[in-house]
C-alpha cells in the first residue's frame, strides 16, 4: 500500500493558525504589559510625589528648627537664660588663664602688686621633668616668694606644684 504524502495546505494552515495565535498572544501580552507598565509608572510617580511632599515637609521643618536653634543659641538669649536660671556664669578673668606655652620670661597676666604671680615656670618644661619641681619645696618657695617680693619683680622658679597651687588659690579667690 502506497502511503499518501501529507497535504501541503494542511501544514500551512496549522502554521498560519499558530502564527496568528502567536501574534494575538504577543499583542495581548504586549498590550497588557504596556497597561501594567503604565500602571506602575503611575504608581511610581504617585509614590515619588508622596516622597517629594514628605521631603519638602521635612525640609520646611528643618528650616524652622534651624531658625529656632539659631535664636536659642544667640548670645543674648543664652545670657538671659543663664540669668533666669540664676547661674552666675562669667568669662574667665585674665589672671585665671594659664598659657601653656608661656615661659617664665613672658608676662602672662596683670602684674598687680597685691597679687601673687600664678605662673612661675614654663609649663611644658615642668611637665616634661617633674623632678625639677619637688612638691613641698615648690609650695614653700612659692609662699616665700609671694611674701618677699612684689609680683612684678618676682623671679621665676622652676616649680610645677607651686604654679598649680598658686593658680588654684587664685581661681578660688576669683570665684
Amino acid at each position: 500500500m502506497k502511503l499518501k504524502a501529507p497535504r501541503k495546505h494542511t501544514s500551512y494552515f496549522y502554521y498560519i493558525v499558530a502564527l496568528v495565535v502567536l501574534i494575538l498572544v504577543v499583542s495581548a501580552g504586549g498590550g497588557l504589559a504596556i497597561v501594567y507598565l503604565r500602571q506602575q509608572i503611575t504608581l511610581s510617580a504617585a509614590k515619588t510625589k508622596e516622597t517629594e511632599t514628605e521631603i519638602t515637609s521635612l525640609d520646611r521643618k528643618i528650616q524652622h528648627l534651624d531658625t529656632r536653634i539659631a535664636a536659642v543659641h544667640h548670645p543674648d538669649s543664652l545670657r538671659r537664660r543663664a540669668e533666669s536660671l540664676g547661674l552666675t556664669l562669667t568669662q574667665p578673668a585674665a589672671k585665671q588663664v594659664v598659657r601653656m606655652e608661656a615661659t617664665a620670661s613672658q608676662r602672662t597676666w596683670p602684674a598687680e602688686a597685691d597679687q601673687p604671680e600664678p605662673l612661675m615656670v614654663s609649663f611644658d618644661l615642668a611637665l616634661m621633668d617633674p623632678s625639677l619641681a619637688p612638691v613641698a619645696k615648690a609650695a614653700k618657695n612659692a609662699t616665700a616668694t609671694r611674701t618677699a617680693k612684689p609680683a612684678s619683680t618676682t623671679k621665676p622658679t622652676n616649680s610645677t606644684k607651686s604654679t598649680k597651687t598658686a593658680s588654684a588659690n587664685k581661681s578660688k579667690k576669683n570665684n
Binding site: R38, I41, T42, S44, A45, A46, T48, K49, R60, K61, Q63, H64, D66, T67, I69, A70, A71, H73, H74, P75, D76, Q91, P92, A94, V97, R99, S105, Q106, R107, T108, W109, P110, A111, E112, A113, A151, S152
Partner: protein
C-alpha cells in the same frame, strides 16, 4: 408576510432629515476641530495642564563661625472659609483660640460672619460672600500642625516663606532687610504693577546676586477631578541661593551691642557707632550702631534708625585726626619724636602772615612730639600741619582715606568732606590738623587708625568672607584688599609707640588701658556745630585704637554722639572705657596672648595697671 408601503415623499423627507442631522453634526465637528480649534485647544490645555513656578530658597547669611544671622523660614497664615465652616465644630473654637492666641469672641465673630457689604453708597448695597478670612499670621509649623489636628472644616492655612533674623536687631545695619517694593513690567505694551519682595539694604542687597538663587518651574496634568497626574510631570528644579559667610563674629557683635546698650543706659546719647576689625586684613568683626532696628519688623522703626551711622553719618573727627598731621610730619622726616615744638605761643608766622593758633585745654609750653600726641595738643598739631603745608596735609588726609569711600561693600556710604587746598581759607591749615574743617565717617576714622596698626598700610574694610554652597564648599572667596601704603613701616611703628602713651597714666585715654596688654589709641572730643558756632555743651566723644600695640590683633573705634553727663563728654571719659570693656572680653574670646615684652616695658605696664586700678570707679 406583509408588504409595507412607504410613500416616496416620506422617504425623501426622512432622507433629507437624516442628511440634515449629519450635516449639523459635521458642521459642529468642523466648528470645534477646525474653526475654533485654537481657542478650544488652549482652554483644554489650560484646564488639563498647570504651570507652577517653584521659587528658589534664598541663601542664608552666616557669621564667620557659621552661626545663622539670616535665614528663610516657612510661616503660615491661618484663615477660615466661613462658607465651608460647619457649625458642629463650634465647640472646637476655644481650643483653636488658645492655639492661635486669639480672643475666643473675636474668633467666633470672624468665623460666623459669612458675607460682607461691598458698596460705595448706602443706596447701592452689594453683598459678597466671604471665602477666606485671616485668623492669625506667621504661625509656625508645630502650631499649624496643632490647628490641623483639630480637624475643623474650612480652617486652613496658606504657607509662605519669610526672611527671618534670629538675632532680631543684632547687626541689623550690616545685614539689612527685605521689603515689598512696587515694580512695573511691560507686557504687550501694557504696564503692569507688581508688588515684589526685594532686598533693600545691607548685605542682603549687596550680595543679592548670590543669595537669591534661580526659580524653577513644574508643568503637570490633572484629571477630571483636578487630581494631579504626576506621571506627566515635567519640571526644572529651582536652584537655591548660596549662603554668604560674613567676617562678622556673632559673639563679638553681641559684646559690642551690649556695650552700646550700656552706653545708652548711662549717657542717653543721640547716636553710637562701634566698629571692631582686624587691622591686618580689614575684616570687620563687629559693627554696632544706636539707634538700631529689628529687620524682622523694620517698618516699625523710623528712618533715622535704619541709617548705618558707621558709614552714613559724618562728623568732625577732632583729635583723632591728629594722627594725619603727626604721621605725615614724621613720615616726611620733618620732625622726630623728640623734636621740640613751642605749644605756648598763641600765633605763629606762616607764609608771610601771622596765624592764630587754636587753644589747648591744658597749657603745655615747649614739648616734644610724643608729648603733643599723648597730651593731644591742638597747638602742637596745628604747627605740625603748618610744617607739612597745605598740599602735603591734604595728600596725607587723602592717603589715610578721608574724603573718599572706604570700600565698605554693602553701600550707604558717604564721602565725607575734605576740601581741596585751593578752597581752604586762611585758618584751615591751623584747624584741620586738630580735626576741624573736615568731616569724616566713623568708618574713615577707624580705617585711618587701623592703617597705623597695620604698619602703615590702609586696608579696605571687608565684610564678606566667602560664598558657600549647601555642602559648605567655597564658591567665591573674598580676600583682603590693600588700598595703599600711607606711612612707612618705621613711621607707623614710631607713631604706634607714641599712641601707646596716650593709653597710659600720662595720656588722655588711661581708661582704655587693658591690664597686661599694651594698647594704643587716640581720643577725640568734638564740639558740635550748632547754629553755625561750636557748641560748648554738645560733643561727640571718640576713641579709636588698637591692641596689643606691638602686634595689633584688633582695632576698635567708638563714637558717642552727644552723651548726657555732667561736664564735657570727653572721648577719654565716655568712649575709652568701652575700648577696655570690649577688649578685655575679646582677649578671652579670641585667646589673644600678651606680647613678649622686655623688663622695662613690663614695669611700665605694671605701673599702668596700678594706675588703672586707682581710676576704676
Amino acid at each position: 408576510m406583509s408588504k409595507v408601503f412607504i410613500a416616496p415623499w416620506r422617504l425623501q423627507v426622512l432622507t433629507l432629515g437624516m442628511v440634515g442631522c449629519f450635516c449639523t453634526v459635521l458642521w459642529r465637528l468642523a466648528d470645534l476641530h477646525i474653526i475654533d480649534r485654537e481657542t478650544l485647544a488652549q482652554k483644554v490645555e489650560a484646564n488639563r495642564k498647570t504651570l507652577e513656578v517653584r521659587s528658589a530658597r534664598r541663601g542664608n547669611l552666616l557669621d564667620v563661625r557659621g552661626n545663622l544671622l539670616a535665614a528663610t523660614r516657612p510661616v503660615i497664615d491661618v484663615g477660615v472659609d466661613p462658607q465651608s465652616f460647619n457649625s458642629k465644630d463650634l465647640d472646637k473654637l476655644p481650643k483653636l483660640a488658645k492655639i492661635l492666641g486669639v480672643p475666643e469672641a473675636t474668633l467666633t465673630q470672624t468665623i460666623t460672619r459669612k458675607s460682607r457689604a461691598e458698596s460705595d453708597s448706602a443706596f447701592n448695597p452689594e453683598v459678597s460672600l466671604l471665602r477666606w478670612v485671616k485668623l492669625a499670621e506667621k504661625v509656625d509649623e508645630p502650631t499649624y500642625q496643632q490647628v490641623l489636628d483639630l480637624k475643623i472644616k474650612g480652617v486652613y492655612g496658606n504657607r509662605r516663606y519669610e526672611r527671618y533674623y534670629p538675632g532680631n536687631s543684632t547687626a541689623a545695619h550690616v545685614l539689612g532687610y527685605i521689603g515689598y517694593v512696587d515694580e512695573i513690567r511691560k507686557v504687550d505694551g501694557l504696564e503692569i504693577k507688581d508688588t515684589v519682595l526685594r532686598p533693600l539694604m545691607g548685605v542682603e542687597q549687596y550680595m543679592d546676586f548670590y543669595l537669591r538663587g534661580q526659580d524653577g518651574w513644574r508643568e503637570s496634568e490633572h484629571d477630571g477631578r483636578r487630581r494631579e497626574l504626576s506621571q506627566y510631570r515635567c519640571e526644572v528644579a529651582p536652584t537655591d541661593g548660596l549662603d554668604v559667610e560674613l567676617t562678622l563674629d556673632l559673639v563679638i557683635q553681641s559684646i559690642a551691642e551690649s556695650e552700646v546698650h550700656r552706653l545708652v543706659q548711662e549717657y542717653k546719647p543721640k547716636g553710637i557707632s562701634i566698629i571692631v576689625s582686624r587691622p591686618s586684613t580689614g575684616e570687620l568683626l563687629a559693627l554696632a550702631n544706636y539707634p538700631t532696628f529689628d529687620p524682622n519688623e523694620f517698618w516699625k522703626s523710623d528712618l533715622n534708625s535704619l541709617r548705618n551711622r558707621a558709614v552714613a553719618d559724618v562728623f568732625e573727627p577732632g583729635s583723632t585726626f591728629k594722627i594725619v598731621a603727626i604721621g605725615g610730619a614724621l613720615n616726611e622726616g620733618i620732625v622726630g619724636p623728640e623734636t621740640i615744638i613751642d605749644c605756648g605761643s598763641t600765633s605763629v608766622p606762616y607764609k608771610g602772615r601771622q596765624i592764630r593758633l587754636p587753644k589747648d585745654d591744658h597749657k603745655i609750653g615747649q614739648a616734644p612730639i610724643r608729648e603733643i600726641v599723648y597730651k593731644s595738643s591742638n597747638r602742637g598739631a596745628a604747627q605740625l600741619g603748618m610744617l607739612l603745608g597745605e598740599d602735603r596735609l591734604y595728600k596725607y588726609a587723602k592717603a589715610y582715606g578721608y574724603g573718599e569711600l572706604s570700600g565698605y561693600g554693602p553701600g550707604g556710604e558717604v564721602f565725607g568732606i575734605l576740601h581741596n587746598p585751593k578752597n581752604w581759607d586762611g585758618l584751615t591749615i591751623s584747624r584741620m590738623p586738630m580735626g576741624h574743617a573736615i568731616s569724616a565717617t566713623p568708618m574713615q576714622v577707624h580705617c585711618a587708625m587701623a592703617s597705623v596698626a597695620n604698619g602703615g598700610v590702609l586696608m579696605m574694610p571687608q565684610i564678606v568672607k566667602r560664598v558657600v554652597n549647601k555642602d559648605g564648599n567655597t564658591v567665591v572667596q573674598f580676600t583682603p584688599k590693600i588700598r595703599r601704603r600711607v606711612l612707612s613701616p618705621a613711621t607707623a611703628a614710631l607713631l604706634a609707640g607714641m599712641l601707646r602713651e596716650v593709653v597710659s597714666p600720662i595720656g588722655t585715654a588711661v581708661r582704655a588701658s587693658i591690664p597686661g596688654y599694651e594698647c594704643a589709641g587716640k581720643t577725640g572730643t568734638t564740639q558740635k556745630i550748632v547754629d553755625g558756632k561750636y557748641s560748648n555743651t554738645e560733643h561727640i566723644a571718640t576713641f579709636t585704637g588698637f591692641f596689643p600695640s606691638s602686634q595689633p590683633e584688633l582695632a576698635m573705634t567708638i563714637i558717642v554722639d552727644e552723651p548726657n553727663l555732667k561736664g564735657t563728654g570727653y572721648g577719654g571719659v565716655v568712649a575709652a572705657p568701652v575700648f577696655k570693656n570690649i577688649g578685655e572680653q575679646l582677649i578671652q574670646y579670641l585667646a589673644i596672648r600678651p606680647p613678649q615684652v622686655d623688663s622695662n616695658s613690663r614695669e611700665a605696664i605694671a605701673a599702668s595697671d596700678k594706675h588703672q586700678k586707682n581710676v576704676r570707679p
